[in-house]
């Protein structure tokens, strides 16, 4: 399984992307969805203890992954993601089998060596800092990578931080707003809130005093936007606009994406299909069909192919070795300054 690199071409029709790019987005959206479905199956079959992930966020997260300036160090983008970001990782070129490994918590899991839950990515070579379970702490940490990028080397690297809607009630969200907007010390940071209108079971209504989370940014003098996160083209364009601003102005931007939560919060709430949510993948398939970019047959073909590949991969992963008991003592302290360039 491989991934191709992005083709950031300006759309011909307003709000539309070129055909090739649509197909490219669709391809990764589909693989991302099927990966999540495979993970859920693994969970249900007892090949993992917990599932959480991003079905319903592909139309936003996949474009994000394509637009990231991928690389290592302050000249490239840092990503402080949360646990629904498989679409972003796949678009960046992650191998889905590694997600299966984390699900099965085998020793070969490159993200955590069998230590952490599914969806908890860590890819230093691409500046993807470890996803950690506590909600919103990434917003307090992101200001640090952003500050490192502020002085700047002339490169366009920025910091991207993402979290859910309910999590913005934590003080860490306010921390990011405050530290990123200090006058004369602004930080090059794109803050993304993926709003699925829920925190586990708690609906948005009655939890917030504003209609959109993005309103929180206004007092801080930063540009804000809300985008339909179920529309991959609109998302691509909105992300690109936000990134352009942050890369150029070296100042913060708050982007809110309205997304769906297609399988509930996590396996703890059953991971069953939510019937009352828009499915961005289905919607985009209809669009592609309407524009005659793909036929239903081609779609089914592709789905089958990826489903088969993922099925085979999961069979292989199940045979991989678990971490040893003694391995708990590994990586308590570092001997080398890896982030400082030592190897």
């Amino acid at each position: 399984m491989s991934s191709s690199s992005p083709t950031p071409i300006r759309p011909a029709t307003a709000g539309r992307l070129p055909a090739a790019q649509c197909l490219q987005l669709y391809d990764v959206m589909l693989r991302s969805r099927l990966l999540e479905e495979r993970l859920i199956t693994m969970y249900k079959q007892g090949d993992g203890y917990f599932w959480i992930g991003g079905p319903g966020e592909e139309a936003f997260n996949v474009p994000l992954g394509f637009l990231v300036d991928k690389g290592s160090g302050i000249d490239h983008d840092y990503l402080h993601l949360h646990y629904r970001s498989s679409g972003t990782l796949l678009a960046m070129g992650a191998d889905p089998v590694d997600s299966l490994r984390q699900m099965k918590n085998v020793a070969s899991d490159p993200y955590s060596k069998g230590r952490n839950f599914a969806g908890h990515f860590s890819v230093r070579k691409w500046n993807v800092v470890p996803v950690s379970s506590p909600i919103e702490v990434q917003f307090s940490i992101a200001i640090g990578t952003a500050r490192a990028q502020r002085a700047g080397t002339g490169a366009k690297g920025i910091t991207i931080v993402q979290g859910g809607d309910a999590g913005t009630a934590e003080g860490d969200f306010a921390t990011a707003l405050i530290w990123s907007s200090r006058k004369g010390q602004e930080l090059p940071m794109l803050m993304i809130v993926t709003n699925n209108r829920y925190g586990i079971s708690t609906p948005y209504a009655g939890q917030h005093g504003y209609d959109q989370i993005s309103e929180r940014g206004k007092a801080f003098g930063m540009p804000t936007a809300v985008v339909d996160g179920n529309d991959p083209e609109a998302s691509y364009i909105a992300i690109q606009r936000a990134l352009d601003y942050v890369r150029t102005e070296r100042k913060p931007y708050l982007l809110e994406a309205m997304v769906s939560r297609l399988r509930g919060h996590s396996s703890a709430s059953g991971a069953n299909l939510a019937k009352d949510e828009i499915d961005c993948l289905q919607k985009f398939e209809t669009t592609l069909e309407e524009r005659q970019l793909m036929t239903r047959g081609q779609i089914e073909e592709l789905r089958k192919k990826y489903t088969r590949e993922l099925g085979e991969a999961s069979t292989r992963v199940k045979e991989e070795a678990p971490p040893t008991p003694e391995s708990i003592w590994e990586h308590v302290f570092a001997d080398k300054n890896l982030v400082g360039g030592e190897t």
Partner: protein
Amino acid sequence: MATMIQAIRMALHVGESKLGVTDIFGEDVGPPLGGVFTGTQGLETAWNTPLDERGIVGMAIGLALAGRRPVAEIQFCDYAFNTIDLLKIAGNTYWSSGGDWNVPLVVMTPVGAGIRGSIYHSHSFDGMATRIPGWKIVMPSTPRDAFGLMLSAIIDPNPVMYLMPKALLRIKNQPGEELGGEPADDKTLSQMIDAPLGDRSAWKPKWPELEELYIPIGKARIAREGTDVTVLTYGRNVQMSLAAAEELAGEGVDTEVIDLRSLHPYDWDAIKASVRKTNRVLCVNEDTEITNFGEHLLRRITEELFYELHAPPKLLAGAHIPGIGLADNLEMASVPQRADIKAAIEELAHHEP
């Protein structure tokens, strides 16, 4: 026979219907979910908070100061570590104000490993909690104690931390340990008080008429009497220690298992009496082993009962590493398992001075 989580829910019901509890709140505590472990389903005064643990603890303190009776939940103790300053304030307000304002509140939170909860759903909180003066701290190991400790926590005029051993939330009372008033049959109880799957908007629980039961804070329970070795433990490790003790009984080692139930204040008299009898002591808990509450108990035992000890006292605790890993091998190697407890008791029993 109620499970521990049902017992907690019923205690909260008694709390709100008879003991003046006014607010039961936390993330996903109110309808529709009623708690990620079902602990607050169907309660009249349960409500959902924003996703903000600092707000939750602050809210509890404020409600308490205003004369209400709050029970706040932190969804997992793993997420309480950004509120330690506020927990300290709850614990120091009465003292700092020279006795002007007391702060009667309960914070309940699930703790510990045993469910493959990975790095952030396996934490223990006993080490941290016992480092915060001004709090009483309890931790049940049976549904009956869970019920009786909750009622005592609710009526206490001080902040009380109620630690819920996650791995035991679904265990049932032993026969003879029933709560007064609970239906004999599990299914009946479940139909009465467990929320149905699917739409719950019209559902209302039917609470059994329960007798009030107060397990006094500060009193341990001798979970098993024995003469050879004392095991001091609480929560999840009580059940494990009892199982290990039963195995060892067949091998001629007679273990006394003390379930502390209250970590602060703890029952020094019970500890002392047991150590004087067995002269050998093992302390078991799941928290990381450096600056561990068991080390306090053992330090005090060593200082005060040095000449009673016929073997070096022993601590069996969590590995001192940054987290508890997800894979079976990792979790099992990180916190005490029954076999580890058994081996430690054996070693103490057979130690020749």
